[in-house]
């Protein structure tokens, strides 16, 4: 009888042991995932040729794919019939200090291209740089305004587009890293 109880105890201990092993990873804390190559901020600086106040156009989305939409800010109005020298800065501000992703684009400039499209009072936007193959990148550009009025400026960054392309998004293909549109007023 005693031995029966003993063996029963052994069985229970073994079974519990197996259960504990089977369910052992219960409280293991999963590793946090901080997504890399996240772009939180797009910052365009438009400086009038021949001097003047620079206009900063920015879109910032600190929660990435989270529910909060990007916060868009435009520091002021553009002046009509003026050419601006434009440059672009892209950042990952989820990291501290913020990671400058523009540098990565510069390093792999054959694999990237910015596309600028506009409506309204922006006359045209032309590329002001080239990658090592002689194709445009768009890290710097020239923007010329027209009559006073309202305008939209759309910025798209494509990863691995077809290069060279005809300048249209459809022809370029690739993957969209940035697609932001800004409403701008031209005085």
């Amino acid at each position: 009888m005693v031995s029966a109880i003993k063996s029963l105890k052994t069985i229970i201990t073994l079974a519990t042991g197996i259960l504990i092993i089977a369910c052992g990873n219960d409280d293991e804390i999963p590793e946090i995932v901080n997504e890399e190559e996240v772009i939180t901020t797009v910052n365009l600086t438009l400086t009038p040729q021949g001097g003047g106040t620079s206009i900063i156009v920015q879109s910032q989305d600190l929660d990435g794919d989270g529910p909060n939409p990007p916060v868009i800010s435009v520091s002021g109005n553009l002046t009509s019939f003026t050419t601006y020298e434009g440059s672009i800065l892209i950042l990952n501000e989820t990291e501290n200090p913020a990671e400058n992703i523009t540098e990565e684009v510069e390093e792999e400039d054959e694999e990237h291209q910015f596309f600028y499209t506009s409506t309204g009072s922006i006359e045209n936007i032309v590329y002001n740089d080239m990658d090592s193959d002689g194709n445009p990148v768009g890290l710097s550009f020239l923007l010329t305004t027209g009559e006073p009025g309202s305008a939209t400026l759309a910025v798209t960054l494509r990863h691995e587009p077809v290069k060279p392309n005809d300048g249209s998004l459809t022809n370029a293909g690739g993957e969209t890293d940035i697609a932001q549109t800004f409403n701008i007023t031209v005085d």
Partner: protein, 799 residues
């Protein structure tokens, strides 16, 4: 020889030992329980005396030289469950033996094409036979199941087909693979069952949750894949099927071999391999739609009348390319795809499987033991282990190109036991218990926030079902089941999402640690689910078959419905679960009426399914990020109603010419908002004409027409803000495609190559007219047309 000698010696020694008179006879006939037809070839075996005989063509048997006493009699027949009886021999005895016929045999006299009833007595149920399964050897399980009325498929291209029963799929359809409930992440819309169709012997579909022994949550239905097994002793048999197809420019090979030894030992091995390149629509190549699929299984054990065991291991691996044009960057790409009507990427044909793609691997191990107890019933004990690994590769760039965006490993241990009291021929009861532990691990190495979190899940189930045959024609069936499900997850939420969902108000106790922009939480939920069924079956053999069934079923939410949170890159949509989601409850009433006449028969199967707290996923709006806008799909609960009917008719015009007609319709409505449910299959009608003549090398040929109506009831489309166009635009994300009509032709013949070797040669042409079409239930319908013509050549060698 040695065996025989031993047997003789044994009998002799018995007679010598007891030295009593042993010249009594036991005679009688073996008849079928259902229709009293005589059964030839049944084995009547007297245990203890070790004497047996086979019944003759009229079902008669006779055993002589018996002594007085009590004996155990075993009666078996290839198509029946064996029966155990105790018999008293006091003199010459006459005893008629009644067996209950299995369905396999009925297949040959079946009334409705290739489908026949089985498994449950009062539910709507149909079966696919081995012949049909073989014809679909190069397709998917989901394709084959569409042969059954009321079953459609929710597909993601041609390689991923999720079976949909009466308008419901995913976690509402339970897949039972040789007694093992598949745990293969069935929650995802683009997750196909991880099953090789070639490994199944027969497939039954129970349209509803009434099969409580398998689970109480199959609100859609149960798909049961079984092994067909011949228990003849000392045999070796097998088959090999080779298919070649034009669309995809590839094919598959499948082979299996079974060896049955003495004393019930058996060994069975099965292997298949499939390789296809890009599939083609009538007008263009569907770039990146190839597949590589491997299936392996091995099974061995010992099966005897009174006890037996078997072990089974099965491996499945599929590397499935996802249409390149379906990978879209943001909502503007989606608008462009829907509007253009052409895939955005068309490249020359290739066999390469590139990103986006998914690779799934499923290991399944099972151990089963059964024992029969004389005069009581049969006891079953089963343990199974499953490991499911899923990689989903997106179009990622740079260093992470070859790192999957989704990497999940799901491990499941299940133990269950049941007891069947079947000694009484009028009342049968089955009771059982189930315990299950499941662990999901979401690998952080993806560098992408987890769509499904790490979790542990525990299930406990208990059930009892019984049937009472109160007359030759009438049968009553009833059952009840209780399931407890606990889910214990560890999940990181974005702080902004946690607040936006209002979880900071309702679930603040779940927060374990605050990492600034992310929160580690530990949601734990318990669900208590009750299910029950009751039904009636009335049958007059050969003329009327009437079934009525009511089922109450409850289903706990799956991890995807609770926890989904993130961007599904390949589909360019954000999917959001809800922690507040509770179990859904279904009340389903189903009728089945079949009437048979000399040369024709019909079947009417109406049903109504009322589901409270129905969980659904639908597009609800847009969320904006730096990469543009994405459609937001959210899970919510509502009350729903599904009404439908499956109709079928079958006519024998001449012994060779037959026609078959099927029609299915289902209507789904959200009864709270009075809006149609999303993804409800469109009504469809199938007409088939077949010519079969066994004298002409077993020629079987048929022409099948499938007409799929346009789904006219669907939720409204949504308006979204297009950043590119700087305005609100209508996104026709719910608008169903136009109706379509497809023709299919098949023919096969069979040659005898030897006494036991037969070679079947067949040809099947799908989409005969190379019709351009899109299907409402194909998730890639926004991007490309469906498959064009496909000619499949099949060689089927049986030996």
């Amino acid at each position: 020889m040695l065996k025989k000698l031993t047997a003789v010696l044994f009998v002799l020694s018995n007679s010598i030992l007891f030295g009593q008179e042993c010249d009594y006879n036991l005679t009688g006939k073996v008849v079928d329980f259902h229709d009293n037809s005589r059964l030839a070839g049944a084995i009547v075996y007297l245990r203890g005396v070790e004497k047996g005989i086979r019944s003759d063509e009229d079902g008669n048997y006779s055993l002589d030289g018996l002594c007085k006493g009590q004996f155990e009699l075993i009666v078996s027949h290839p198509a029946c469950d064996p029966v155990f009886l105790t018999i008293e021999i006091q003199g010459d005895t006459v005893k008629d033996l009644i067996l209950e016929h299995h369905v396999e045999e009925l297949d040959e006299v079946q009334l409705l094409g290739e489908t026949v009833k089985n498994k449950m007595n009062t539910a709507q149920e149909q079966q696919l036979t081995t012949a049909v399964i073989e014809r679909y050897s190069s397709a998917t399980l989901g394709d084959a199941l569409k042969e059954i009325g009321g079953v459609t498929g929710l597909s993601t291209g041609a390689n991923i087909v999720k079976p949909t029963i009466h308008g419901l799929n995913g976690s509402r359809v339970l897949m039972l693979n040789d007694g093992v409930r598949m745990q293969d992440m069935e929650w995802g819309e683009e997750h196909a069952p991880n099953i090789d169709i070639n490994a199944a012997g027969s497939i039954s579909v129970i349209k509803g949750a009434s099969a409580l022994q398998y689970g109480g949550d199959a609100i859609g239905g149960v798909i049961v894949l079984d092994q067909t097994f011949r228990t003849a002793q000392d045999t070796l048999y097998g088959k090999t099927i080779v298919n070649g197809m034009t669309n995809g420019r590839g094919g598959n090979i499948s082979t299996e071999l079974t060896k049955v030894f003495d004393e019930g030992w058996f060994l069975k091995g099965q292997a298949s391999y499939k390789r296809l390149g890009d599939r083609e629509a009538p007008d263009y190549v569907l770039s990146n739609t190839g597949i590589e699929e491997t299936g392996l299984s091995i099974r061995f054990g010992k099966k005897n009348f009174s006890w037996g065991w078997d072990a089974w291991y099965s491996y499945y691996d599929a590397d499935i390319a996802i249409l390149r044009a379906s990978h879209i960057g943001n909502i503007d790409d989606l608008i462009r795809s829907i509007n253009s009507g052409q895939p955005q990427v068309i490249e020359p044909f290739t066999y390469d499987i590139s990103n986006p793609r998914q690779e799934v691997t499923h290991h399944l191990g099972k151990l089963n033991i059964y024992k029969r107890f004389e005069g009581t019933g049969k006891w079953n004990l089963r343990y199974d282990f499953q490991n499911n690994r899923r990689f989903e590769y997106d179009l990622r760039l740079g260093e992470v190109r070859d790192i999957p965006a989704i990497d999940l490993e799901l491990q499941t241990h299940t133990i269950n036991t049941d007891f069947l009291w079947d000694a009484n021929s009028t009342i049968q009861v089955r009771t059982g218990l189930l315990g299950r532990y499941q662990n999901n691990f979401a690998n952080p190495d993806t560098g992408v926030r987890r769509l499904i979190p790490d979790y542990d899940k525990y299930d406990l189930g208990i059930f009892a079902i019984g049937e009472y045959r109160f007359s030759e024609q009438w049968l009553l069936e009833a059952g009840a089941r209780y399931d407890l499900t606990r889910i214990d997850a560890l999940k990181y939420y974005r702080t902004s999402r946690w607040v936006e969902r209002g979880y900071d108000q309702d679930f603040s106790e779940f927060v374990v640690e605050d990492f600034g922009n992310q929160l580690l939480t530990n949601p734990v939920f318990d669900y208590h689910n009750f299910s029950g069924t009751a039904g009636l079956h009335y049958k007059v053999n050969g003329t009327v078959d009437f079934r009525f069934n009511y089922t109450l079923a409850q289903r706990a939410p799956n991890p995807s419905e609770l926890f989904s949170d993130g961007l599904h890159h390949s589909a360019a949509r954000l999917e959001l679960g809800d922690l507040r989601i509770g179990s859904e409850t279904s009340h389903k009433i189903a009728l089945s009426y079949q009437r048979s006449f000399n040369s024709w028969s019909f079947l009417v199967e109406p049903y109504a399914n009322f589901i409270s707290d129905f969980i659904l996923l639908e597009p609800t709006g847009t969320e904006f990020t730096i990469r543009g806008a994405f459609p937001l799909w959210t899970y919510r609960q509502t009350n729903a109603r599904l009404l439908g009917a499956d109709l079928a008719a079958f006519v024998n015009w001449t012994p060779e010419w037959k026609t078959e007609h099927r029609f299915s319709i289902v209507k789904g409505k959200d009864t709270e908002t009075n809006i149609a449910l999303i993804n409800i299959p469109a009504a469809n009608i199938t007409n088939k004409i077949t010519f079969e003549k066994s004298e002409w090398k077993n020629l079987r040929t048929g022409l099948e027409s499938l007409y799929v109506f346009r789904q006219n009831e669907y939720p409204p489309d949504i308006t979204v803000f297009s950043p590119e166009q700087q305005q609100e635009v209508l996104l026709e994300i719910n608008t169903p495609p136009e109706p379509y009509h497809l023709l299919k032709f098949y023919a096969d013949v069979e040659f005898e190559l030897g006494s036991r070797t037969r070679l079947g040669v067949g040809v099947t042409v799908d989409n005969l007219l190379n019709t351009n079409y899109r299907d409402y239930l194909n998730r890639l319908r926004y991007f490309a047309d469906d498959l064009g013509r496909n000619i499949i050549l099949q060689l089927n060698l049986k030996y």
